[in-house]
Amino acid sequence: MTIVAAVRPDSWDFPLLVHVLGAMILVGGLLAGASSLAYARGDVKYLRLGYWSLLAVALPGWLVMRIGAEWIASREGWNHEGVPTPTWLNIGFILADVGGLILLVSLIAGGIGVRRLRAGQGATLLRTTLVLSVVLLGAYVVAIWAMAGKPS
């Protein structure tokens, strides 16, 4: 952030704050969700806690992050037609969008999994949700590294 700010106009600050705060909430929701699902050991209450962490924390975080991303990109002029985008931004956009899709799939799987739990069936789908959230956490670590380190 130190170096970025040296060349960043003040008007970019608030959109960047929205983007970063959303991303932090997203990662926090994923961490909480993955941890609860991983340590639930079949306990329905913790399996549900894991699912709801993803739904009520990670998903809103993703939305705020993505809105902030579009906002700051428009301020910086990256989404104008014909403007070439740097590698770090492409990595960020790809991981954000593909990650959003994976999050959606994991939420659908988890939602069905929670319904199956109510019916007294197994937690296989919630285990799928766990695996997907761990994959997402890894992907977002790469995204954060790319956005912060800005490799060329």
Binding site: A6, G28, L31, A32, G149, P151
Partner: protein, 159 residues
């Protein structure tokens, strides 16, 4: 990527770990309000450990690499107002976080007593400890301090 770029990336990753840990604790704070048995309280322990590791790595990573960056980047100095503000807020958030942990550990420690004696039923005293208002207020203040650090880092007032 230069060494400073790498340091910056790890600094930001540390900040994410710190906030992710705080978010995880918010989830647990909400969840533990309905927990009145020792067994369920103790079941949270490994999740708490994940949060502790995230906050610990985040806190150390942000401060160590943050101070390094303040010296390594020519345009900033350690005595800049916004950097001093961040250091003060970091210390405040750390102190508040420790008190938050202590407030919630009362419930965890209480849960270990009857559990060891084989009593696993609902316990109103345990529920009251798990619903600690002091803990909620302290965690809200910790989160506020960290939010202020983030605002300070992005807006860099006076820089």
């Amino acid at each position: 990527m230069s060494f400073v770029d790498w340091a910056l990336a790890v600094h930001v990753l540390s900040a994410f770990a710190y906030v992710a840990g705080l978010v995880l604790f918010w989830v647990l704070i909400v969840a533990v309000r309905r927990v009145d048995t020792p067994e369920e309280t103790l079941r949270m322990e490994p999740i708490v450990k994940v949060g502790n590791v995230a906050v610990g790595l985040g806190a150390v990573g942000t401060i160590v690499i943050g101070i390094y960056l303040a010296f390594a980047v020519d345009s900033y100095a350690i005595w800049d107002g916004w950097i001093i503000a961040a250091l003060v807020l970091w210390a405040v958030s750390g102190a508040l976080g420790q008190r938050t942990g202590a407030a919630y550990m009362e419930g965890m420690n209480k849960a270990k007593e009857p559990d060891a004696a084989g009593k696993t039923g609902p316990d109103q005293e345990l529920l009251a400890l798990n619903r600690t208002q002091t803990g909620v207020i302290l965690h809200a203040l910790t989160s506020l301090a960290v939010l202020l650090i983030l605002i300070d880092m992005i807006f860099k007032p006076g820089a």
